[in-house]
């Protein structure tokens, strides 16, 4: 418990919290922009360049709105529910590793630390436990509002969440069986290595078609756990007058919103760690280091082209900034490759982790813009008569493979 | 061997005993059948704590396994008990144990 350890942990905590809060705010912006482009409209673009200050405007609005507690609610649970929802949503980020061990020396101290708040031996079931208790935020919010729409929305939503916890746990058990450990760090380290030199040893490619079923099952269960379309009947605006958060305003409503996005981020991070190899690159080391500069170079060139053929008059000024930022990142990654290896040590795993998680978040938002929603009885029937048996079969098959193959 | 800030095992057992006594008090005193049921769950939790404390004492894992089985049995009992409570409520329209105590309706 020496001072270095405490300071390093505090720095990690501050960085993690800052990045997480910014990500949650801008995830909403990304969602609105992506859904808008799917629906052939521009999305928010007035508040700041390309609507980038929209989350700030929303935060200011939500904070300064009158936060009232209606007189007919059960006050203790009314105030407790959003607090519980957002606290539990933020807790599970602590066990997610974003990168491997990094070692560097600053001000004479040699610091060697994992890019993770803490590693638990039971990391995977810790996340499951937190999401199991996370049901209460929704159920208590629905009940305490003393309103039949909220009660129905809350009960339906919590019944949906606990029904889909089972297929999620079964699908989660498959990579755990293969990796033979519950700690996230060891699961990612187990996925290191390449078949034939270029196919990564990720869990989704193991035992060839089987783990893809586990991956898809986990994704579908995760959609239902986070109450996102196509499973968002309990909170849909045109079905249940906004469901369980009908009676909430201002900061408490913002808490539920933040909790939903944070759950989304957590569950995509967990999917990345379990199935897609966490921070490990797609192909072996020397060539995969050039993917990051190549991606940002492409982004810079596209922005430069968009700056030269502007679709709207303001684009002449905003896209060059984007292009400059992208080229700056390219320079950073190339510097990290050739000049300062410390940058590559931290930035490369983070790039791969964020690329995979970002891809999955894009899939989440894409599905929201594309699919209609399930009716409630269809949703429950799907969970119990399809997902649960399929999950059992996949887990049994994985278990049989693990037992029969020599290790 | 033991670091300076360590807790005597007796304190865990005392906590377990107090929680068990609170469970008994709730079981005997409360009138709503659901709260009575919750007091039973409190008693089971206190017993779990006791099992795990003794498992630490003997440095064996058997206490944990027994505690696991207690949890499973409590889950099964909660499911059936709550179903019974639902049926009783449907028939007697009340949740107070004094009003549903007669066998003949």
């Amino acid at each position: 418990m020496d001072l270095t350890y405490i300071v390093v942990t505090l720095v990690k905590l501050v960085i993690l919290f800052g990045v997480l809060m910014t990500t949650l705010a801008y995830l909403q912006w990304i969602e609105r922009k992506v859904i808008a482009h799917i629906q052939l409209r521009p999305g928010p673009y007035r508040v700041g360049p390309h609507g980038l200050l929209q989350p700030l405007a929303d935060v200011i609005k939500l904070i300064t709105k009158e936060g009232m507690i209606p007189s007919h609610v059960h006050k203790v649970t009314y105030v407790l529910a959003p607090f519980l929802a957002v606290t539990l949503a933020l807790v599970s980020i602590c066990v997610i590793p974003f990168g491997p061990r990094i070692t560097f020396s600053v001000a004479g101290h040699q610091i060697s630390t994992w890019l993770q708040m803490t590693d638990l031996r039971i990391g995977a079931i810790f996340v499951l436990a937190i999401s199991a208790v996370g049901v209460y935020g929704v159920a208590l919010a629905g009940w305490s509002s003393n309103n039949k729409y909220s009660l129905l929305g809350g009960l339906r939503s919590s019944a949906q969440m606990i029904s889909y916890e089972l297929p999620m746990a079964l699908a989660l058990a498959c990579p755990l069986l293969l990796a033979n450990t519950l700690s996230f760090r060891d699961i990612v380290l187990w996925q290191d290595g390449y078949y034939f030199g270029f196919i990564p040893h990720w869990n989704v490619f193991q035992v060839f078609p089987l783990q893809i079923f586990a991956f898809i099952l986990f994704l579908i269960a995760a959609f239902a756990e986070t109450n996102r379309i196509p499973f968002d009947l309990p909170e849909a605006e045109n079905e249940l007058v906004a469901g369980f958060h009908t009676e909430y305003s201002s900061m408490k409503f913002a808490s539920f919103f933040m909790a939903e996005y944070c759950n989304m981020v957590t569950v995509t991070c967990v999917t990345t760690l379990l199935f897609l190899g966490g921070w490990l690159p797609l192909f072996p080391a020397p060539w995969s280091d050039y993917v990051a500069p190549a991606v940002f170079l492409l982004a810079g060139l596209v922005s430069a082209w968009a700056a030269l053929n502007p679709a709207r008059p303001k684009d002449k000024y905003t896209f060059p900034v984007v292009a400059l930022a992208s080229f700056g990142l390219v320079a950073l990654f190339l510097a990290g490759e050739f000049v300062f290896p410390i940058i590559n040590q931290i930035a490369m795993p983070l790039f791969w982790f964020c690329a995979k998680t970002g891809g999955l978040l894009f899939v989440w938002i894409w599905v929201r813009g594309t699919l209609p929603r399930f009716r409630y009885d269809q949703l429950m029937r799907f969970a119990w008569t399809f997902m649960f048996p399929v999950g059992m079969v996949v887990m049994l098959a994985t278990g049989a493979v693990v037992a029969l193959l020599p290790r | 061997m033991a670091p300076a800030h360590a807790v005597p095992l007796n304190w865990y057992l005392i906590l377990s005993a107090i929680l068990f006594a609170l469970g008994i008090a709730g079981f005997l005193y409360r009138r709503s059948i659901i709260t009575v049921f919750m007091s039973i769950e409190l008693m089971l939790n206190a017993v779990n704590l006791s099992f795990i404390a003794f498992s630490y004492h003997w440095k064996q894992v058997d206490g944990h396994i027994f505690s696991f089985f207690v949890m499973v049995v409590a889950a099964a009992e909660a499911a059936v008990g709550l179903a019974i409570i639902l049926t009783v409520f449907k028939n007697r329209k009340s949740l107070e144990i004094d009003e549903i105590s007669s066998m003949k309706y």
């Binding site: 203790v76 649970t77 031996r121 039971i122 079931i125 436990a129 199991a132 208790v133 209460y136 159920a139 208590l140 009660l151 009960l155 606990i162 916890e165 519950l182 | 033991a2 670091p3 800030h5 360590a6 807790v7 095992l9 865990y12 057992l13 906590l15 005993a17 107090i18 929680l19 006594a21 609170l22 709730g26 409360r30 709503s32 659901i34 049921f37 919750m38 769950e41 409190l42 939790n45 779990n48 498992s55 630490y56 004492h57 440095k59 894992v61 944990h64 396994i65 089985f69 949890m71 499973v72 409590a74 889950a75 099964a76 009992e77 909660a78 059936v80 709550l82 639902l86 049926t87 949740l95």
Partner: protein, 166 residues
Amino acid sequence: MDTALFIVFAVIALLCGINLVVQTHPISSALSLIGVMSALAVLYLLLGAEFLAAAQMIVYAGAIMVLFIFVIMLLNAGTERVTPTRHLLKVMGVPLIAVFLGIVAFIIQGLLPRSELVWFGGFQGGGPREVGIPLFTRYLLPFEVTSVLILIAIIGAIILAQKEID
């Protein structure tokens, strides 16, 4: 550090336990019970039972108590009717309980004279592998029997809670 954690979570468990018995509305009692279970999960972690702590949160606080809360919400269980208790009972009840607890505490203090010290990390055998291997080898029969027990409970609950077929 361990002492501070133990005292904080033991006090939380005790306060929630007292709250469970004292509150009149079933939802408040249910929330207090969830508080007790969470505090106990932390105490299990201090005693080295990490798998049990996670199982406690998933099974007890995450499933059983959700079931309780559903039933309370569905039955719209309201505040209990308070019957006036006799004054003598109230005056004598609390001191008698305190005396009883004191006797129990004294007996337990006498049971383990050389009181073993508990510190975080003192028992390493509570992880998933260490719990799982005996569960599937030495205690395989009780494990399979509990699976049948759960099946019985599921069937019983479905039949009891079914709508009557007219």
